[in-house]
C-alpha cells in the first residue's frame, strides 16, 4: 500500500495565546475563541477559511460552540486527542495528517482551560466508589494525586540512578530563569534561587511545590496549512518535519505501577516512530520543549527520546546544560513549571517562536525544535524546522 509521508508537508503558520492568569471571569469557550482569533490574525487567515479543528478530549467547549461563535467555515475534519497533557503534541499531528491526506486545508489545534481554582483539580473530583483499573488499585490508599504517582516513580529513580532533589532543582531553576525573561509568563517577576527551591514546602516527598506545574487559566491555539500555502502567508513557517504518537503496551496514566518496568518511559514507542521518520536526529536538536507537569518528567523524556542514555538524565541537567546558552536549552518560555500550565500547549507555541526567532529566550540558530507531550500518558512528539 502507498503510504503518505508527513515530512515537511505542513507548517504552523499562526499562533495565539490569551493572557496567562488566575481567576479569569471569561468562559473556557470565550478564552478559546480569543486564542484562535489571535492565531488566525497572526497567520493572516480569515475565520471562514478554517475547515478543521482539533482539541483535547478533556476540552469542555465543543466544536459547534467554537465554529458558531467565531464564524469558522464548515468543518470537514475534527477530532480530539486522549489522555490530558499526553494529547498536546498529537493535536498538531492530527491536524498535519488531515491536511496531508486532503481532509482539510486550514486546521486549528487549540486548548482552553480554567484550572486555577482548587475545585478544578481533577483528583479532587474522584468518586467515592472507584472501578477503573488505575483508580481502584491506587486511590483507596491515598495514592491519589498525580504528584503522588510521580513522587513514587522519582523515588525509585533516585534509588536506581543516584539522582537527588538537587537535580530537580536544576530543572526548576532553569525554567524559572527562562520565565523571568518572558513577560507573558506567570512567574515573570518571581526569581527563584536554589535555596528557595530547597526550602519550599513538600507536596509529595520527594517532590516540593516547585516540582509541580502552575495552575492557570488561559487558552492557546495554532493554525496549520500545507507547506505550499505556508510560503504565501505572512509568518515564517514552522514546518512539521516529523511527528509521532505512542504508548507502551499496558501502561497506565501516571500511576504506571503495574507494568514490568514502570521506569521504562511510556514515550519509548513514540520516540522510535519519531526518529524513524526524521532526518534530524536527537544529537542535532538545538532546543527542546518538553511537557513538565512535574519536573521528573524532564528526566524521563531526555532518556526516552535519546538525548542521553538510561539513568544519565540527572547528570544531563548539570552545568547549565538545559538553560539558555547550554547544550540543550529546554522550555525556553518557562514551561508548565513557570510560564503556564495549559496541558502542555504552551510548549507548542514556544517551539514555533524559536523557529521564528522571536522567543524571549531565543536560541542562536534555532533551525529546529523538539516538542513533546507528557511521557506519563499516551503521548506524542514532533520536530519543527525552518
Amino acid at each position: 500500500m502507498d503510504t503518505i509521508s508527513l515530512k515537511d508537508r505542513t507548517a504552523i503558520v499562526g499562533i495565539g495565546q490569551t493572557k496567562f492568569g488566575k481567576g479569569f471571569t471569561q468562559s473556557e469557550e470565550a478564552l478559546g475563541c480569543e486564542a484562535i482569533k489571535m492565531a488566525l490574525d497572526d497567520a493572516g487567515l480569515k475565520a471562514s477559511e478554517v475547515n478543521g479543528l482539533v482539541s483535547y478530549m478533556m476540552q469542555t467547549a465543543e466544536e459547534d460552540e467554537i465554529t458558531g461563535a467565531l464564524g469558522l467555515g464548515d468543518l470537514t475534519y475534527f477530532t480530539r486527542t486522549p489522555s490530558g497533557g499526553g494529547g498536546a503534541a498529537a493535536t498538531v499531528g492530527q491536524a498535519a495528517m488531515a491536511i496531508a491526506t486532503g481532509q482539510a486545508d486550514v486546521v486549528v489545534a487549540w486548548r482552553s482551560r480554567k484550572r486555577s481554582a482548587a475545585a478544578s483539580r481533577v483528583w479532587m473530583q474522584t468518586q467515592p466508589r472507584v472501578v477503573h483499573l488505575r483508580e481502584m488499585w491506587t486511590t483507596p490508599w491515598g495514592v491519589l494525586r498525580p504528584a503522588d504517582h510521580v513522587a513514587m516513580l522519582f523515588r525509585r529513580y533516585m534509588h536506581l540512578y543516584d539522582a537527588t532533589r538537587e537535580h530537580l532543582a536544576n530543572i526548576a531553576t532553569a525554567f524559572r530563569a527562562h520565565a523571568n525573561r518572558n513577560p507573558a509568563a506567570l512567574m515573570y517577576d518571581k526569581p527563584m534561587t536554589r535555596d528557595d527551591y530547597m526550602n519550599a514546602r513538600l507536596i509529595s516527598d520527594p517532590l516540593c511545590l516547585f516540582d509541580c506545574c502552575l495552575e492557570t487559566d488561559a487558552a492557546l491555539a495554532v493554525v496549520l496549512v500545507s507547506a505550499e500555502r505556508a510560503k504565501d502567508l505572512k509568518q515564517k513557517p514552522a514546518y512539521i518535519h516529523a511527528i509521532a504518537q505512542g504508548v507502551t503496551s499496558g501502561s497506565t496514566m501516571m500511576a504506571n505501577f503495574f507494568v514490568d518496568d514502570p521506569l521504562h518511559s511510556q514515550a519509548n514507542p513514540c520516540a522510535e516512530s519519531l526518529w524513524r521518520q526524521s532526518d534530524i536526529k536527537a544529537k542535532d536538536i538545538k532546543v527542546a520543549q518538553m511537557y513538565d507537569a512535574f519536573s521528573p518528567e524532564i528526566l524521563m523524556c531526555l532518556e526516552a527520546y535519546g538525548f542521553c542514555g538510561k539513568g544519565e538524565a540527572a547528570a544531563f541537567t548539570e552545568n547549565g546544560n538545559i538553560q539558555l546558552g547550554g547544550k540543550l536549552p529546554i522550555n525556553t518560555g518557562g514551561g508548565g513549571l513557570s510560564e503556564c500550565y495549559i496541558h502542555g500547549f504552551n510548549m507548542i507555541n514556544e517551539g514555533v517562536k524559536q523557529i521564528r526567532g522571536t522567543s524571549t529566550s531565543q536560541v542562536d540558530d534555532a533551525d529546529n525544535c523538539f516538542v513533546c507531550a507528557s511521557d506519563l500518558n499516551p503521548t506524542g512528539a514532533f520536530i519543527l524546522r525552518r
Binding site: A118, W123, M124, T126, Q127, P128, R129, V130, V131, L133, E135, M136, W137, T138, T139, P140, W141, G142, V143, L144, R145, D148, A151, M152, L153, R155, R156, H159, R201, L202, I203, S204, D205, P206, L207, S249, G250, F257, F258, V259, D260
Partner: protein
C-alpha cells in the same frame, strides 16, 4: 476507623473475587488457566496467552517496598487529618513485577500515619495485614517485617 471515603467497587466482575478474599483475610492474585502465569491487578484476560480462564491463587502476603512517597497537604479532604502520611508501592514476593498500592501501619488496625516515614526504605520487607474500612471493603495494608532474629 475508615482510611478514607474513596473505596473500591467490590462488585466489579473482574475484581470481585479479590475483595471477597480480603474479607476472609486472604491475599489472592489471579493464576492463568491457560499458561499458569500469576497476574495482578485483576484483569479479564492473560497478557501472555490471551486466555480468559483463571483461578484465584493465594499468595504469602510477603513483599518488599518498591517505592514510597510522603503525601503532604493538600490531600483528599477525608485524609487531611492524617497528612503527612506515607504511601507505598509493594512488590509481591512470588513475582516482584506484581505490585500493589498501600500504606505501612505501625500495628494491625493502626492509622495510615502511624509509622515514622524516616523508617521507610526501598527494598524493605513487609507483610500484609487487613483493615476493614467499609461493610464490604477490607483493604490489604502492610507491616514492616522485622529482620530475622529480631525479637
Amino acid at each position: 476507623m475508615p482510611v478514607g471515603p474513596i473505596l473500591p467497587a467490590t462488585d466489579d466482575p473482574d475484581s470481585a473475587g479479590f475483595w471477597a478474599a480480603t474479607r476472609e483475610g486472604k491475599f489472592v492474585v489471579q493464576k492463568c488457566g491457560g499458561c499458569g502465569e500469576l497476574r495482578f491487578p485483576p484483569r479479564p484476560f492473560c497478557k501472555y496467552c490471551q486466555s480468559n480462564d483463571f483461578s484465584w491463587h493465594p499468595v504469602s502476603g510477603r513483599g518488599r517496598i518498591w517505592s514510597f512517597a510522603i503525601a503532604h497537604k493538600p490531600v483528599y479532604p477525608a485524609l487531611a487529618d492524617f497528612a503527612p502520611f506515607p504511601i507505598v508501592i509493594v512488590e509481591l514476593e512470588e513475582k516482584p513485577t506484581l505490585r500493589i498500592s498501600g500504606n505501612v501501619l505501625a500495628a494491625p488496625g493502626a492509622a495510615i500515619n502511624s509509622v515514622d516515614p524516616a523508617k521507610l526504605r526501598i527494598g524493605q520487607p513487609v507483610h500484609v495485614t487487613f483493615q476493614q474500612v467499609a461493610e464490604d471493603v477490607v483493604l490489604p495494608q502492610w507491616l514492616l517485617t522485622p529482620p530475622p532474629g529480631a525479637a
